[in-house]
């Protein structure tokens, strides 16, 4: 808190002095004051939305199984009607690219929206701070409690808080593991004390991570660990909406009586109550301008608006505004007009194209896979009947949860005859759910039908139930002698 006092002192009144400090320092604990207002309400909306999703989804059922389950043992990932396999990694890449681009887009438009409202670090810190607030009281009460000697009151409150924090953390861990290991079996297993080693480990690990990050590390994660804080400035420009302090209106700051009026004694609108600093979860002073520690949560806006209201001044001394807006005293309308700048349009276009592409390709994603492995050692040979023969190894995988039949057709070269090498697996009928069938096929072509060399052919597999078809390219080789 010494920092605040130091900032509050007018620089020019004391001569510059040299203070020696170590390069390492224990981080000061931040006692963020609770705040209410528009942006805080928005954050709570996002807390509820994200957490209802996180805690609720594992309990949903779909076709007699868990709706969202990442079954690592079976290497299958269920998301409602969609089933993914490790070979569908491309969709994960798609998702990550879309997420990254969304981050770019939202950051270009309105700064660290992600950090302030939806990042798990923020969301869990908000929940943990709420619990802390309910049990230990608001800022002043908490500071007083920490300073006081240990007594029954302090012991009760501190242990109650630890209990609440740990319980919530563990439940988060259970839910997390519930995405990978059926939660409807997991929870009874916990009750019956029959957890597997890995499940126990991950519940404890994730629980501890939640407890440690949201209870203790808080802003330290944003300031020292999160890479986003470091490169966000590359996505900002002069038209990005950021949390700003209106310096022209606020300075010179100074305390005054309520009766004195907004601009008494040549002062600006800032009454230097430092509440914006007290509410800041990362402990910065927004009046010093944009800093990398600012997670754009808008708590200082809510707090300042509240103070401005009480003083009878106009709101918006601290507000969402752009660098251009502040410098040129633009109206909200003028700032919004700058929304459609090239960078935003380009981001939006790429994002839309990728999202549509992803949805379309997911929609047309076939429910089975066909791999054609051409024998390389046996390039081509003659049968006793004088036919040219090539050998292929077909791998067909049924990716659905039902039994399916398939039909094979080979096209691309006139006169090709399909011959099954092994009567053991003569066809593609009755593939069980997730069964992979390996079938060796010989393709025969009468000699002299076509020129020597490599010919493009296609293996077409059709699902007899859904008429869905998959076409795989391969080659047929005709020898030259």
């Amino acid at each position: 808190m010494s920092d605040i006092k130091q900032n509050a002192v007018n620089k020019t009144t004391i001569p510059e002095q040299e203070v020696v400090l170590s390069l390492y320092k224990s981080a000061d604990k931040i006692y963020a004051r609770s705040v209410s207002g528009l942006f805080n309400n928005w954050r709570w909306v996002m807390v509820w939305a994200t957490q209802l999703f996180f805690y609720g989804v594992p309990w949903l059922q779909w076709d007699g199984r868990q709706a969202m389950l990442f079954d690592l043992d079976a290497k299958r990932f269920y998301i409602f009607g969609l089933i993914f396999h490790p070979q569908d990694l491309i969709y994960l890449s798609f998702l990550l690219i879309v997420s990254a681009l969304s981050l770019f887009l939202f950051t270009a438009i309105a700064g660290r929206l992600w950090c302030g409202y939806t990042c798990p670090q923020t969301v869990y810190t908000e929940i943990y701070m709420w619990m802390e607030n309910k049990i230990e009281g608001d800022r002043i009460a908490r500071m007083r409690l920490d300073d006081s000697k240990w007594n029954l009151n302090k012991l009760t409150r501190k242990s109650l808080k630890q209990f609440a924090w740990i319980a919530f953390g563990l439940w988060t861990g259970v839910t997390f593991v519930g995405y990978f290991s059926s939660i409807r079996e997991l929870v009874p297993n916990i009750v019956n004390w029959q957890l597997g080693g890995w499940e126990t480990f991950w519940i404890c690990f994730y629980g501890f991570a939640t407890y440690g990050n949201a209870g203790y590390m808080r802003e330290q994660v944003c300031k020292y660990m999160c890479p986003y804080a470091r490169f966000q400035s590359a996505m900002f420009d002069d038209d990005t909406m950021i949390v700003t302090y209106d310096e022209a209106r606020g300075e010179p700051r100074g305390a005054r009586s309520k009766k004195a009026g907004e601009n008494a004694n040549g002062l600006g609108s800032c009454i230097d109550c430092s509440i914006c600093v007290q509410v800041c979860p990362t402990g910065i002073d927004i009046r010093k301008g944009l800093q990398y520690e600012c997670i754009g949560c808008g708590a200082c806006i809510d707090a300042c608006d509240d103070v401005m209201d009480k003083m009878g001044y106009a709101k918006g001394l601290i507000k969402y505004s752009t660098q251009n807006g502040i410098t040129n005293r633009w109206s909200r309308q003028q700032m919004l007009q700058r929304l459609l700048r090239p960078r935003v349009i380009i981001y939006t276009t790429i994002l839309l194209a990728l999202t549509i592409g992803m949805v379309v390709s997911l929609y047309f994603k076939p429910d089975f896979r066909l791999d054609v492995l051409r024998d390389r050692a046996v390039m081509s040979r003659y049968t006793d009947e004088g036919m040219i023969e090539n050998v292929y190894n077909l791998k067909l995988e049924n990716d659905t949860e039902a039994v399916h039949d398939y039909a094979l057709k080979v096209t691309g070269l006139e006169g090709l005859v399909v011959h099954f090498a092994d009567e053991n697996s003569q066809d593609f009928k009755g593939l069980r759910p997730f069964e992979t069938r390996n079938v060796v096929i010989e393709l025969e072509l009468p000699d002299g039908v076509t020129r020597a060399g490599s010919h493009k052919i296609f293996f077409e597999m059709t699902d007899l139930q859904t008429s869905e078809a998959v076409k795989e390219k391969s080659v047929f080789i005709v020898p030259s002698n």
Binding site: K11, E18, S22, L23, A377, V378, D422
Partner: protein, 298 residues
Amino acid sequence: MNDFVNGFWPIWISTITLGGIAFCVGLLIFASRVKVPLDSDNTNGHEWDGIKEMNNPLPMWWVGLFIITVIFGLTYLYLFPGLGTYNGKFGWSEVKQYEAEVAKNNAKIAPLYAKYAAMPVEEVAKIPEARDIGKRIFLNNCAACHGSDAKGSRGFPNLTDNDWLYGGSPDTIKLTINNGRNGIMPPMAAAVGSEEDVKNVANYVLSLSGSIHDSGRANAGKDKFVVCAACHGPEGKGNQAIGAPNLTDNIWLHGQGEAAIIKRIHEGKNNVMPAWKEKFSPEQIHLLTAYVWGLSNK
């Protein structure tokens, strides 16, 4: 790390590794003692192009993590290889890990194979489930040469007919898979005689299987076939004891026709089938044998 035969490189690696860690620790200690002169606006006087360096001390927990990392690094280097030729306290190596995993996997699948291992090959070959296991082993390991359908190609024997270079009994097949085979035909042209003689012998060989040939040349070559008979037998029916092919059937491992035979007489051939007993357990070989035997004994 045994690749380092020169004594210099292990020392070089160790010096860089340990020196790097020592440097990091030194930097940490050095930086903890340096004091920063601080101006009242929280800058330390460094300025470059209008940008002032602020005093943002590193949090202590970060220093703690740094120390933990150093301790972890040193412990790791003590337990595992990483310093030149030092093998580490545990003596861990990739080869050992691989062998341990293979052993673990073999132990896991052992019950699956146990019941088949007790049955004779002929019986096992009748069980579809066992054939499927054998087929998978075949596709992953043997198909590269013999083809996915086991019918081979030029130079690689067809396993689905009933013609065997070394014999087709289950025991012989198992022996072939276990130990591999090395079939040698030496270049015989000099022993046979002149170029004409070679051509005549080739035609005689063709006549043995009733293939298209010049009967005049075949008659002329019959006497010269004596040198071939040492391996292929006086009637050209081959010798399974040494893997000499039967020349009287119409199965040609290295190509059909006069030109192909002349080429073999001139150049000879060294045919190698690798040994597999190191890679598979005896139970797996048993199933593989059953699959291969079953291909020609349906």
